[in-house]
Amino acid sequence: MATTEQYIGQPLLRKEDAKLLAGQGSFIDNQSMAGMVWMALVRPPYVHATIDSIDTAAAAAMPGVLAVFTAADLQGEWAGSLPMVWPITEDIKMPVHWPLTGDKIRFGGDAVAVVVADTRGQAEDAAEAVVVAATALPAVRDLEDAASDRSVVHEDLGTNNVVHWNHGGAGDQEVFTNAPVIVQERYTQPRLIPNAMETRGCLAYGSPAAGEFTLVSATQIPHIARVGHSLVTGIPQNKLRIIAPDVGGGFGSKLNVYAEESLALALARKLNRPVKWIETRSENYVATIHGRGTLHDCTLAGTEDGKILGMKFVELADMGAYYQLLTPGIPELGGWVYMGPYDIGSYWFEFTGVMTNATPTDAYRGAGRPEATFVVERLVDAFARRIGMDPTEVRRKNLHAPFDEATPFICGLSVDSGNYEPALDRAMELADYTQFRKEQATRRDSGDINQLGIGVCTYIEMCGLAPSSILGALRYVAGGWDGAEIECRPFGKVVVRTGTSPHGQGHETAWAQIVADGLGVTPDDVEVLHGDTSVSRIGMDTYGSRSVSVGGEAIRLAVEKVRAKARKIAAHELEVAEDDLDWTDGAFRVKGAPDKARTIPDIATSAWHAHSLPAGVEPMLEGTAVYDPPNFTWPGGTHICVVEVDTATGKTAIVRYVAVDDCGNVINPMIVDGQVHGGVAQGVAEALYEEAIYDELGNLASSNMTQYLVPSASEIPEMLLDRTVTPSTTNALGVKGIGEAGTIASPPAIVNAVIDAVSHLGVTSIDKPATPERVWRAIQDAKGGAA
């Protein structure tokens, strides 16, 4: 039935919800097969050690155990090592990363053996019984210590300094020594543990005789994983199917080609049994990628009246003990946003990637842009304090003027569109900025124990990864396109196959909204399939806030192809020329005689029975599009946080949190708001609570959820949201992406607020997370300085 309703822009309730609410999700741990066996990994009792021997005899003799393998036993299984697909420089040093390590233990998750048994309990018990004898080596955790090469993680590389990337700078570099005001700061950002509520897990099965295998995995990237695991296991891509079932959150931590997935495939092939693995949470903390882990030396050149002349950043970035899929590319990705939304004349960014004895780092919600935005926004606040200007005034003075065509920024890339000041204005209004400043002054005057602080972040970020040609220039080995296939079934239902792979982002609903508007059907008529390489053949998956601006645009283009074919059939049936048809009110209508019409369901039925199609038109109404974006998309906005700091205890409470984001046009505002809520919550966690802590031997001390503080509902504030809308010029939908904005914008807003609350006591810097102890110590140190 034809519908004239517009679905794009409406807060449609999600099609995904019913099964999840009923407890009928297809999460990996809900899947099992006849003959299935369980895999468990032997994680080492060291973080840096030479392996002397591994005794598997006791484990192999335990009940239910089928096999125990070390690296040497599985050597013949591998066609290649685990892939890293972003060798960002010509001279990058590339450590080899095997699914099991055989020579040396380089971090706490570096598995040395794998056990297969009938039950999970038996496999885990037997893994405990494998005896690893090793000679401990000094562990390097601190970035400067690691960079000194006191102890080298990969001897064959000769150094821990494995990659140096230099943006090359832009503008007059003299300002960093000659400007009237020079602000120099050093910021550390600890490692974060992503903590998707579902840990990783997989199930591999197939036919060794046919050489065909399937991997069901809690992954964000079934399409990329097919390429990766084919390279590792040697299973050809046309005989390897990857399925992402319902996935319980990702945040970048499931954007990888992991050792355990390759092992499960290899063992299914070797043992001719379905092999399942579910990661424990404690294992997740050492074996799944971490985020952040950086040290920045920052310089801002400015004038006394608040003009920022330039910003310069030199970073050490913690790679961990190996590269995972994108590791060295993460700081580079941040390298394009160190100018913030500001119109500045000089830019410099370079970083050195350093190997350490810890879990590999990789993309964690925001991937490079939070690290960059944090230091930019801390630095701008430091500048504001130095010259005694309100932080919103400094920002306003430097925001780039509005533009609605792609415009080159000093980082060297063109920004699709931007209008930053309205978001700042609206955020200040929602935050009662002026009122809180007055209240802050009152409390300072009265010496109140509870001091108010207001923190601001005006940001820009880069989504829509990515134009394939730019990725090529940046030495990324894959493209940045995405695909969509639309199949119109007879009598009106539509099947959509998307190359994106959602795990909570609501693509089944949002893509149905795009298709419904484009084809004159309802979202209920549209079924969106995803996450299976045999179902949606053409895809580049979900990460980097790319799905709507690349995958969504591919959907729109596939709709256009369907309509172009449908127009031919409609013209034939209505006996008019194609040009004599208008597409109005959800149907092709004869100009001047709108009652003579054909809807998409009518035409789909004709194309299916194919009794009378125009010459040269093939049966079935369908369309396929692969879209390669011409540019990135660049959201922006302003977040403002008001905190109350108890100066006696150092405890921070968030009094108000305002987020005004500009993600271009919006397909489903309900889903967009949900993405901001979740992103900000992860930013609150980063700013105030979460930090991977290591002991002096390099062991992860915050090794489970009792010691690593993932915030609950009591710690997360209610948020006030609004949006400004500056349509993207990169795609016809005008969309930009919103998955990571909250996590990018919120940590600096919150930490700036905490510092602002105690800056009158002489505090100028507090590291993340701003725990009560850190804040209290900063106050005590400042007092000491004053005395």
């Binding site: 009923a22 509520m197 997360i716």
Partner: protein, 158 residues
């Protein structure tokens, strides 16, 4: 093996369990009710929350044998198959109270138990009541809104 008899979602099951079997694995693996998820190994995340004699418990903190002779309700027992959703399920849907859906069954079970105790809570009280249940997607905002909405609906229906 120990023999137990547990009523789960109004059906009584007699079963032999290993004494070390946790309630959550009894529910998931022996009864095949996989709607109850597992998110950690330290009783921190609340993903596995079910009702034991009407009260929310983390089913990873109890042994199956401790449920002998008692009544368990899981997410599968909140609505009849094919019937209308429980007001909390409906409210989570209408308020976008879930994204990936992994914590959702535990959230709903925790909230149902809490609303039994306190049928008209404040926002603050709802947030405190969820201290044992972690979510990484929603920032809790719409979960809290869902629970307050459901409380209103349930009060109206009396």
């Amino acid at each position: 093996m120990t023999q137990i008899s547990v009523t789960v979602n109004r059906t009584t099951h007699a079963a032999d369990v290993e004494p070390r079997t946790l309630l959550v694995y009894f529910i998931r693996e022996q009864l095949g009710l996989v709607g109850t998820n597992v998110g950690c190994d330290t009783s921190s995340c609340g993903t596995c929350t079910v009702h034991l004699d009407g009260e929310a418990v983390k089913s990873c903190t109890l042994l199956a044998v401790q449920a002998d002779g008692r009544e368990v309700t899981t997410i599968e027992g909140m609505a009849e198959t094919g019937g209308p959703m429980h007001p909390l399920q409906d409210a989570f849907h209408r308020n976008h109270g879930l994204q990936c859906g992994y914590c959702t069954p535990g959230m709903i079970m925790a909230a149902a138990s809490y609303l039994n105790e306190n049928p008209s809570p404040t926002q603050e009280e709802v947030r405190e009541s969820l201290e044992g249940n972690l979510c990484r997607c929603t920032g809790y905002q719409n979960i809290v809104a869902s629970i307050l909405d459901a409380a209103g609906q349930m009060a109206t229906k009396g």
